[in-house]
């Protein structure tokens, strides 16, 4: 037989093509680094500067009232309590309403025109800038009821509502229809089926989705600027008098040129970051735990 192919050389070759491939791979890797750098820088600043004031004067930082701007010393107690109370109230409003809305969309509305409209508008609502929500609540609530923590809670609830609706609907979709049929076939009403069979089956997903919405709300500033006012002392009522929160405080202190205030700003930033990270991690753990059980 004639020799058709000269000695078969399959060694990797250096050509322009392979070089280009390597360059692109490096560039793509550089993109990852480019993303990591700011994250690392921000985290380092937050933990280093915030950590120093938080741990230097532990637990004063967490409990004392906020000193006046120029004064030195720790104190973010009112802001921490404010964030917890305002975000907590927003959660109490937004999660039940959001889950009920999702129940309507999946269990009752289906593909009806009204349900499609609500789904569409919920998606639109997720894109509304948080500052618009804040001003909206200012106009309909604060002008009538004065500056108070509850107004901030309402504004945050408006932000959370479409997020909870979307996430909950996705979880309801995952519940196998056979379970619903079994319940109906035993003579259960729709309400009972949803409450005793469907919701428990979807619960882990709904909880973790809601926790993510809470983490998002806790970090929001703009909706609070117009609705809660500002104060340096602890306010345990959501309905009387000005309130404060970590996010709003960070914003104020960031604008100051005074080092003491800035220092407290970093401390507040650390507290806020720890709060949102914890909520996120708990949400992920719940999801992982639930999928492992199945």
């Amino acid at each position: 037989m004639q020799q058709l192919v000269s000695a078969l050389d399959l060694r990797p070759r250096r050509t322009w093509r392979t070089t280009k491939n390597t360059i692109m791979t490096v560039l793509l890797g550089a993109a990852v680094v480019a993303v990591a750098i700011p994250l690392v820088l921000v985290m380092v600043s937050v933990f280093a500067k915030g950590g120093s004031i938080l741990f230097k004067s532990f637990p004063d930082f967490l409990t004392k009232d906020i000193p006046p701007t120029r004064a030195a010393g720790p104190g973010m107690g009112p802001a921490i309590v404010g964030t917890l109370m305002i975000t907590g109230m927003a959660t109490l409003i937004a999660v039940p309403l959001g889950v009920m809305g999702a129940i309507y969309l999946h269990e009752y509305g289906g593909q009806s025109k009204f349900a499609q409209l609500v789904r569409f508008l919920a998606m639109v609502m997720t894109g509304v800038p948080s500052i618009v929500m804040g001003l909206f609540i200012y106009v309909v609530w604060t002008l009538n009821f004065k500056l108070q923590g509850f107004g901030g809670a309402l504004a945050l609830a408006c932000l959370m509502l479409p997020i909870v609706i979307n996430a909950s609907e996705q979880m309801l979709k995952l519940v196998p229809n056979g379970l619903r049929e079994a319940s109906y076939a035993l003579g259960a009403t729709k309400a009972r089926t949803v409450l005793t069979i469907v919701l428990p089956a979807a619960s882990s997903g709904i909880v973790s989705g809601s926790l993510l919405a809470v983490a998002r709300a806790a970090g929001e500033t703009a909706p609070l600027l117009f609705t809660i006012g500002a104060t340096r002392v602890l306010n345990t009522s959501l309905f009387h008098g000005d309130d404060t929160a970590l996010s709003a405080r960070i914003f104020e202190n960031a604008k100051e040129a005074v080092a003491n205030a800035q220092e407290r700003g970093w401390g507040a930033a650390l507290a806020l970051v720890l709060l949102t990270f914890t909520l996120t991690v708990v949400a992920r753990v719940i999801t992982a735990f639930a999928t492992r059980r199945k």
């Binding site: 289906g110 593909q111 196998p176 056979g178 379970l179 049929e181 079994a182 319940s183 109906y184 076939a185 035993l186 003579g187 259960a188 009403t189 009972r192 005793t196 069979i197 428990p200 089956a201």
Partner: protein, 299 residues
């Protein structure tokens, strides 16, 4: 197997049997048994039943009588309306958007689709077991107790009794009596299906509808469920949809054969072809379509 050294390879010989497959074996029916079957009290009287999905008439002109403490089997090829008709018997078709019926489904003299009738009430008296076992992601105990709890039974002792009675009735008690609190999802497919049967009979329905209950199960689990059905029919009236002709021949008293036809516009619809005592359907059917199906010529 002994190998014949003189004839190590089988020689081909013409088969002595007829060219079509034999019909499934059905026990001989004595005249007295036949009479008992035909005079049992009526449970369902179905007349001129048409089922619509939106504008599409999916099932046309079903007429049949279902009688007490018998097993009635719906057989026929796929897509000819067996499950659709079954689901009309407990108004489960209401759950499908756009589904409606014309004609009558009369249960003990009451029109199930009448204006004053609540579908939820209907389903409390007529139970259903599904093709794919669907236990709730709860404990075995809570699965069975679900139905009674809906009906207002709160007393712990009473619930314990009901759970034991239902599990015994489904031939599952001995296997699970020590782990009633464990999750129902940890059981095998056959056990889960028996659990679903136990769950259904826990509310003491009169009728148990079964939609291909064995099609997702292995042969051993299937045999156990067929055995269970024979016991259950003493207390309940059973209507079963099955793809397995032999199963119908083995277990049922009456059989209804459905098929799919094309109407004048070329649309496919389901139709009841023949409904009779099982012995007759399988030994001497009146309609050629039935004969073709049971001898395996099609379907």
């Amino acid at each position: 197997m002994v190998v014949d050294s003189a004839k190590p390879f089988p020689t081909s010989e013409p088969p002595a049997t007829p060219t079509r497959t034999a019909k499934p074996n059905v026990p001989e029916m004595r005249p007295s048994m036949l009479e008992a079957l035909m005079t049992a009290p009526t449970v369902y009287e179905i007349s001129n039943l048409d089922v619509f999905y939106g504008a599409y008439k999916a099932v046309r002109g079903v007429n049949m009588t279902i009688r007490k403490n018998q097993i009635t089997a719906f057989i026929g090829p796929s897509g000819c309306g067996k499950t659709t008709v079954l689901r009309c018997l407990n108004r489960m078709n209401d759950l499908i958007a756009g589904a409606r019926i014309e004609g009558k489904v009369v249960y003990h003299g009451v029109d199930l689709y009448g204006p004053d009738v609540s579908a939820t009430e209907v389903r409390r008296r007529i139970g259903m077991v599904f093709q794919k076992p669907n236990p709730f992601p709860k404990s075995i105990y809570d699965n069975i107790a679900y139905g009674p709890r809906i009906n207002g039974v709160r007393d712990r002792k009473k619930l314990d009794e009901i759970v034991e009675k239902s599990l015994r009735g489904a031939a599952l008690w001995d296997e699970v009596k020590d782990r009633l609190k464990s999750s129902a999802l940890g059981m095998s497919g056959g056990q889960q299906q028996r659990l679903c049967i136990a769950r259904t009979i826990a509310v003491e329905p009169e009728v148990v509808l079964m939609d291909e209950p064995c099609s997702a199960l292995d042969p051993i689990a299937t045999a156990r469920i067929e055995e269970l059905m024979r016991e259950l029919k003493q207390k309940y009236t059973i209507v079963i949809v099955t793809h397995n002709m032999q199963q119908a021949a083995r277990t049922s008293d009456c059989t209804a054969f459905y098929t799919a036809e094309l109407d004048k516009t070329g649309q496919r619809f389901g139709q009841l072809v023949e409904y009779d005592v099982t012995a007759k359907i399988f030994s001497n059917p009146s309609d050629t379509r039935t004969e073709n199906y049971i001898t395996g010529r099609f379907g």
